[in-house]
Amino acid sequence: MTQAAALSSIGVRRAESPGLWILAWRRFCRDRVGLASFLIVVFFFGLMLASGLHLIAADWSKEVGVNYAPPTFAGPAISDRSSAPPHSSRSESAGGLNPADPLADVLAEIRAESGGASIAEVEAPTLIFGGDRWGRDVLKKTIKGTETSMFVGLAAAALAAFLGTLFGALAGYYGRWIDDFFNWFYSIFTSIPYLLLILAIAAVLNQKGTVTVILILGLTGWTGIFRLVRAEYLKHKVREYLQAAEAIGASHMRRMFVHILPNVSHVVLVQLSLHVVLFIKSEVVLSFLGFGVGVDTVSWGSMLNEAQSELILGYWWQLVAATIAMALLVTGFSLFTDALRDALDPQLK
């Protein structure tokens, strides 16, 4: 008797009836690193949701501090160096001082609409994690950036996983010319250098914004998932349980998506979370290159883009904030994915 047989014979004796997912969850809970990373991911999800629902960081674009306000723990900036020159330029633009300004009335109206208190508010010399060029709170900005970046990562990964799974299922299940067609398509797609492809699609869409970034990443990122799902389908379509399904008269669609898909779902799930990490990083790169989200939105990428000029002036906090948030989520998500893969590995069953 093998060890697996010994284990399964014990499983049979248990009166309760745990499904495969419940068993996977139990294995997952045993993995401490996995559980910790899971909590990090959950925390970021909470941030994303809260920010998306305008519960927190809704006023991220409000200019609450002096420009480049340093973090509170670093103490206020020495006035002659950092705050003076931008201050003068700011007071001009802030308006109200020049009686000849033809736009004064209009500006006042706009300000009144968007929370008129802002003029009266005292600009804080320091902010919790510093401020950016316009005195916006970096912490809130990072939270808002988290929302954008995570949303882009998740949506793009979902799109890529959907396309990859659909193509992979069709190619692997039907074989023959359908398989050939998708394989050629895949080969052509992967033969184009990645960045070139992204830039090409960005040029075709010709529009900046979150949806564009999602489309770019989703439409280019399905190839790896396609390969894996196709291989899984090839493996499963010759299994006896599928022959049994055919014998009872189950249709092709039913066999493909009701019978096989749940059996390969763990592969898709792991790939999905791997791609979330990948796409979060890609979004940063895209935004850094200037193909990212629009100017009215903030993402980690756009924060890093701003940071490159700030860093020379010694304003490190925006860079650090975005980097820490990203590193935490990416590492957490990667470890979570690893643990997920271990827990879902059918080899253990």
Binding site: M1, V12, R14, L20, A244, I248, S251
Partner: protein, 570 residues
């Protein structure tokens, strides 16, 4: 607890226990304190069903148990020529492995490395353990291959494993195992994956080698009938304990233990055909002893039965590419014709590759037939459209061989059994369907809670019941059993065979019963069809064919059935 006081003891196992750790708190005792001896120059058979701990015992002797989760508690001793194998240093054990004790496994294909020639794998052992030079090793390897009966050893030595047949691969494995002239050869189910005719040859080879080399063979198997032919001593194990041990004649003629008796009688026998096979529980529960007094069932066709299914000149070819444009035809099934009578069973026997399964799959249109017709109530199933075929699909069903593979692991039993009802729109509402499924679960002897469980929570026999229940949901008129009981333990096999027979008696179904096990077919079938290389060589009433085989191939097949101990030439 020495069974016999004959010759010198080669290996003595004393109070061996093996624990497996399942998780942090629970552990599982696979072997619960067993003691037996393996005398020198003899064959000891260890018999047990799956889960009895027989393979674990073998691995414990070779110290091959996984270290992470298995422990052998103190107090267990395995004495090999006075040395305790469990206390030896790792290096010492490694020296013994292969040289003094070697092992052959069940699956020859997966035991040989597919990317090296058999010669390479054989000489590796010789150079490593015996220190021969390359040239010496090669000539010794050729000798060994000749000794295990491989034809043209000079050329076959450079063959890759896939170029050899299953039987030849197992011969190579044996050659590797005996290369260093071990004192003990452990054979763990060495013939289970092989055809009957090959099985016989391999058994003869092992018996012959045992005598010639005066070594001991420790033969591990689940099949008591096989043991009777070759063993000197028999040890019967169940659930980690020894139930009985003794000389072979004692085990077969005067078994003391109820479980041993059960094992002997649960297996269908060629000579008898009781109405119902006894099962293990009949023997283990207290009460009057059952067994030899069950009335016999008579089988066979008179010739005036109603015919439900007629197959005419069925053929199936597979094509493989050859060269740039060429196609090579391989005829898997050639001109097969037979008739299936209503309420009767047609047994199909043949070795692997004889086309039995292909016939079954073409009948169901799971494979496209190349030629011929299948008449079901006068309608040719092979020529009708896919849509028309749907209504016939529910009337012909199939139970597959491997109960572990034929149930979708992500479906609950409820989902599995409800699906055919949904696909064929049987029953008017979900509730009605569910009631039907509950009734079927009861009919195949499974509790109602099974509805919510997943396949992995069931044993092999239970899973096969589920597969049968799934077929029954559609109330088929023809049920094809493709090696449906071959993967099951003897005791479970008897239960499933009884279930199939009860269902036939009750629903008057017709069976096509495909098996390589001639005894099982004899028990189940009214008519037997013998297939060889895609052709039907003989078809006749089962009693006739077993009593009086006409075709030489049938004779050869029948002569290779393990006879048990009484058929043993002494």
């Amino acid at each position: 607890m020495t069974p016999v006081n004959s010759t010198e003891t080669l290996i003595g196992i004393h109070d061996l226990r093996v624990d497996f750790r399942v998780d942090r708190t629970t552990s599982f005792q696979a072997v619960k304190g067993i003691s037996f001896d393996i005398p020198a120059n003899s064959t000891v058979a260890l018999v047990g069903e799956s889960g009895s701990g027989k393979s674990v015992t073998a691995l414990a002797i070779l110290r091959l148990l996984p270290k992470e989760n298995s422990t052998v508690p103190a107090g267990s001793r395995i004495l090999y020529r006075g040395r305790d194998l469990l206390a030896l240093a790792h290096g010492e054990v490694q020296k013994l492995r292969g040289a003094d004790i070697s092992m052959i496994f069940q699956e020859p294909m997966s035991s040989l490395n597919p990317v090296f020639t058999v010669g390479f794998q054989l000489t590796e052992v010789l150079t490593k353990h015996l220190g021969l030079t390359g040239k010496q090793a090669r000539s010794r390897a050729v000798e060994l291959l000749g000794e295990v009966g491989i034809p043209e050893p000079q050329t076959k030595i450079d063959a890759y494993p896939f170029q050899l047949s299953g039987g030849q691969q197992q011969r190579v494995m044996i050659a590797i195992a005996i290369a260093c002239e071990p004192k003990l050869l452990i054979a763990d189910e060495p013939t289970t994956a092989l055809d009957v005719t090959i099985q016989k040859q391999i058994l003869e080879l092992i018996a012959d080698l045992q005598k010639r080399r005066r070594m001991s063979v420790w033969f591990i198997t689940h099949d008591l009938a096989l043991v009777g032919e070759i063993a000197d001593y028999v040890v019967v194990m169940r659930e980690g304990r020894i139930r009985e041990q003794g000389r072979v004649e004692q085990i077969f003629e005067a078994p003391q233990d109820a479980y041993t008796r059960a094992l002997l009688l649960c297996r269908p026998q060629l000579a008898r055909r009781p109405r119902r096979l006894p099962v293990i529980d009949d023997f283990l529960k207290p009460g009057p002893l059952v067994g030899r007094d069950i009335p016999e069932r008579s089988r066979g066709l008179r010739g005036d039965e109603e015919i439900i299914l007629e197959v005419r000149h069925l053929g199936k070819s597979f094509y493989s590419r050859e060269g740039l444009f060429g196609k090579k035809e391989f005829k898997a099934v050639k001109d097969v014709s037979f008739k299936l009578a209503t309420g009767k069973t047609l047994g199909v026997v043949g070795e692997s590759g004889s086309g039995k399964t292909t016939v079954a799959l073409t009948l169901l249109r799971l494979r496209e037939a190349s030629s011929g017709e299948v008449l079901f109530e006068g309608k040719d199933l092979l020529s009708i459209s896919q849509k028309e075929a749907m209504q016939y699909k529910r009337r012909i069903q199939i139970v597959f061989q491997n109960p572990y593979a034929s149930l979708n692991p992500r479906f609950t039993i409820g989902q599995l059994l409800m699906e055919p009802l949904q696909v064929h729109h049987i029953g008017s509402s979900e509730g009605e369907r569910r009631d039907k499924v509950y009734k079927l679960l009861e009919e195949v002897g499974l509790p109602e809670v099974s509805f919510f469980k997943y396949p992995h929570e069931f044993s092999g026999g239970q899973r096969q019941r589920i597969a049968i229940a799934r077929c029954l949901t559609m109330k088929p008129e023809v049920l094809i059993c493709d090696e449906a009981v071959s993967a099951l333990d003897v005791s479970v096999q008897a239960q499933v065979l009884n279930l199939l027979q009860d269902l036939q008696d009750e629903h008057h179904m017709s069976y096509i019963f495909i098996s390589h096990d001639l005894a099982v077919v004899k028990y189940m079938a009214d008519q037997v069809m013998v297939m060889n290389e895609g052709e039907v060589v003989e078809i006749a009433n089962s009693d006739d064919i077993y009593r009086n085989p006409r075709h030489p191939y049938t004779k050869k097949l029948l002569s290779s059935i393990p006879q048990g101990w009484r058929g043993r030439p002494i």
